[in-house]
Assembly symmetry: C2
Homo-oligomer: 402 residues x 2
């Protein structure tokens, strides 16, 4: 008895409305259901009571009761103990059932493929790694990726049924009815079209120009596929994670690895822009007529930052990165800056301190306003793949687009 909740590409602004924005009763229901699910997700292990859900959503307790009753009927939510009484009937604690759905996250890095299988809460159930050669042609890469996904799903199926006594068929064992897989999220660097799932360019591999990656994977795998930039996936994963405050937080994830890019989260949703072009942080010019950059311009922050890294001058690299972060923070009034990527991971303290110093200095100049906090993004190397899985999970919780 599975009903349909807001699926991928469902909602644009608030209510999971039609493309044009008109909202009807099913859309209203999806919206409120997603809101409740998001609070349940955020509450995590301890769980949350109906009345707390009502308070958190602004819905009446009765509406929450009806919504949670549907969710329980669909086995997405269970009752899990009760709170201590405050003089009356104790509140029943509800919890999201993590295993009620899964999604695959795929990270196609320059030379490596990472795949993770995540449950509804975003926790990793199984993971795989494989070498990746983008030069072997689009079809071969698609085929290889599809095989990894299939292998991951069978691992997951074994995992799902749990430690089974003797040779009982996996499909029958435990609570092991087949777990619905929502789809595959794919994250990769470079410019692309998130809405259509088409790559624009892959640096160094012109044969990929304009390749319709999503459609190819949908045909091969027969399940929903969403494609996005690696920085956006990482930012989405962070937005839904513990490092970031509430559901309405705005922050920037700055990724410094072989290149420099950013993922922007505004009001709790990833901001991609109409052409999935947002977050181009690396070619921000911070030195007019400065040293030439690969891109053809001069004084790009990426060129300056990477040059400093190459010299081993991490303090200067952090100062340059901090300048760009301060520019960004001033433009968007964000709440937080998170740093990630291989280079940052190699010198976390230097970057956290250096970037923070620039933001502190700016806040001090402006007067009363508190400085934008800077932290190292948790999650590490697997963060992008986990975020890619969230491309399918997030819509369930009303975190689709900006």
């Amino acid at each position: 008895m599975h009903r349909t909740y807001a699926g991928p590409g469902g909602g644009r602004r608030g209510v999971g409305a039609t493309a044009a924005g008109g909202a009807n009763l099913p859309a209203l229901r999806s919206h409120n259901t997603a809101l409740v699910l998001d609070l349940l997700r955020t509450a995590g292990e301890p769980g949350i009571s109906r009345l707390e859900l009502a308070e958190g959503t602004g819905l009446t307790p009765q509406a929450v009761s009806k919504i949670t009753a549907r969710l329980r009927a669909d086995a997405l939510v269970t009752e899990a103990g009760r709170r201590a009484s405050t003089g009356g009937k104790p509140r029943t604690v509800l919890r999201l059932v993590p295993g009620a759905g899964q999604a695959v996250g795929l990270h196609l890095d320059r030379d490596e493929l990472r795949a993770v299988l995540c449950d509804l809460t975003g926790a990793v159930v199984a993971g795989r790694r494989a070498p990746l050669d983008l030069g072997s042609g689009a079809q071969a890469v698609v085929e290889g990726a599809a095989r990894e996904v299939e292998a991951l799903l069978s691992e997951g199926a074994a995992e799902r049924s749990g430690p089974v006594p003797d040779g009982a068929p996996a499909a029958i064992a435990g609570a092991g009815r087949s777990v619905p897989v929502l789809g595959v999220g794919v994250a990769l660097p470079g410019p692309l079209d998130h809405a259509r799932g088409v790559l624009h360019r892959v640096t160094g591999f012109p044969e990929w120009d304009g390749f319709p990656l999503r459609d190819a994977l949908v045909r091969r795998l027969g399940m929903p596929v969403v494609v996005d930039k690696d920085t956006n996936a990482a930012a989405l994963g962070l937005a839904l994670g513990e490092a970031v405050g509430g559901a309405d937080t705005s922050f920037a994830y700055l990724h410094l690895g072989t290149g420099l890019g950013a993922g922007l989260v505004v009001g709790g949703a990833v901001h991609r822009g109409a052409r999935t072009g947002a977050g181009e942080f690396g070619h921000q010019v911070v030195q007019l007529d400065g040293p030439p950059c690969e891109c053809g311009d001069r004084g790009c922050i990426e060129a300056l930052c990477l040059a400093a890294v190459a010299r081993g001058d991490m303090a200067e690299a952090a100062r340059v990165l901090g300048t760009g972060a301060a520019n960004l923070a001033g433009l968007l009034d964000i709440d937080l800056v998170l740093l990630g990527g291989r280079t940052v991971a190699a010198h976390p303290d230097a970057f956290e301190r250096g970037v923070g110093a620039v933001l502190d200095a700016r806040a001090r100049r402006e007067g009363s306003t508190a400085a934008v906090p800077v932290r190292i993004a948790p999650g590490g190397a697997r963060g992008v793949a986990e975020g890619a899985a969230q491309l399918l999970l997030a819509p369930l919780f009303g975190r689709a687009e900006a």
Copy 2:
């Protein structure tokens, strides 16, 4: 028989939901009504038929019929002729009644106060100008502003009744039942808190620090007041105007006058950030360790740009401005850049060309993507005051916040 539509501060994300996000039937209704009103507003003089509204909103024709029936009962909408037949009953054309509501826009500039009275479509019905001395103390300025608003409203009342034959009482003449005034929007430079309507600082006048401008005006005038930065008001006015494409367009309004600031519109709504700090464009650093700026930092775009202007080197000023615009366009993937302010107005061609050249060059480097178009913002000196009035009008059309 006036019902309540989405008022100021009503909706945050899409549906005019509660603070927490939960949506109920009245919220759904407000949302759809606002959607219909926005299409009616956009259609303007020619008008729009019910079926076109249905197509535009995604609602069913019957739902549109019900909504427009309510709007007609409330005298916000009238039938205005019919379309040519295509072989059946011709479509009835509906039009927004401009005079069904008014709002006051107040622009407190450095040395001048501008006040405009706008109808529902944003058209100026009446306007006033007066000298302004921020040094005369907060109470005196509030009192002066309030007197201008009152004077404007009586002018408007005369205007409303139209050319009346002989000495008929204005309240009876024509369609002249009293026009509801939605409130006053106030725009002024400098950091402030849009949500609370409190000023943080007014450069050069420390006695204004932390002044609760909104509450003071509400007490004095007894009507709703919304306060915002001048650049945000200008951007809002442009977002609802003809210069900007659809309701979902994202653009930046760059204002170069005595200072340099920006108003950001993302997805059709003004982006202010949690602390109304967004749009600080002028102190973006584009020249590391460059010449010192008033703010205490070095290489700020404002310092470089204004220095070039002072030298009379408009080409260089435009190039610097264009660099900042390109940085911004890359970060947010916006659709359009609009330029305004006294300095731009004095040399429109030089700035439009110069900024455009930088954006074109970047687009060419990136390959296929078309360059972000650059235009001079229409509206001129009165644009900010008109945008301030839109602070009250926009919520009616679902254009509250981001």
